[in-house]
Amino acid sequence: MAARAAPQVEIRLIKPGDRLTGLSLGDQAYAPLKTFVQRHAHAYERQSLARTYGAFDTANNDKLLGYITLVCGEVVIQDGDNALVVEEGLAYHYCQYPAVKIARLAVDRRMREAGIGIALVNLALGIARNFICPNVGCRFVMVDAKRNSVAWYDRRGFTMLDTSENKDRGEPVMFVDLSKIG
């Protein structure tokens, strides 16, 4: 079968008037991802509840090929000593650690091997590292990975919280520690 020509896409924040329909995700399990971008992403944007970056096919009427939604989040460690941050002289007595959460990530099933998802996750890491971390403070990028996406996130450099309970979850928690990636 002949290879499908690779379109050049533009990734940008969604804006009013963008058509966010037409994503084909293939599996019913992904229906919430489709519903979110079609019905809710614009409102979340207006209300500053989340930021959604779309990958648009500029040669095809800005057809949406994938998207990622980012939100402010946190990691809360409830029990025990609070020694995550170890540094001589540092007094951090809180159990909350600031984070960016990848709330949604979806790529059209017909474009899954094209690199859109990789580009969107790289952009999320870049935004967190270059803009959020230096200006606000942010330690982690977190994601609740769908089970069949765990290996994919692992290849992107995310670390699985290595406990049996987490591994048994339908959407295991994975993270990147921004303080360690330079």
């Binding site: 020509a5 990734i11 940008r12 025990g80 020694a83 270059n130």
Partner: protein, 62 residues
Amino acid sequence: MSIKSNAFGRVELTGADAKKFRAQATYGRPKAAAKSGAALGSAMARELQSSGTVKVKLRATA
């Protein structure tokens, strides 16, 4: 032990999960893929900030 996580919010860890997370965050080494991805993403983020869009050349798909 317990993990509570909402896609649009916090990750809450207790017990063994909290202990393991502390250990991984304190002593874990960064993955090369995270470093290279963040480096590529940083250039993309700067392009996004300066021009409002990031142009991405995709791989051809079957």
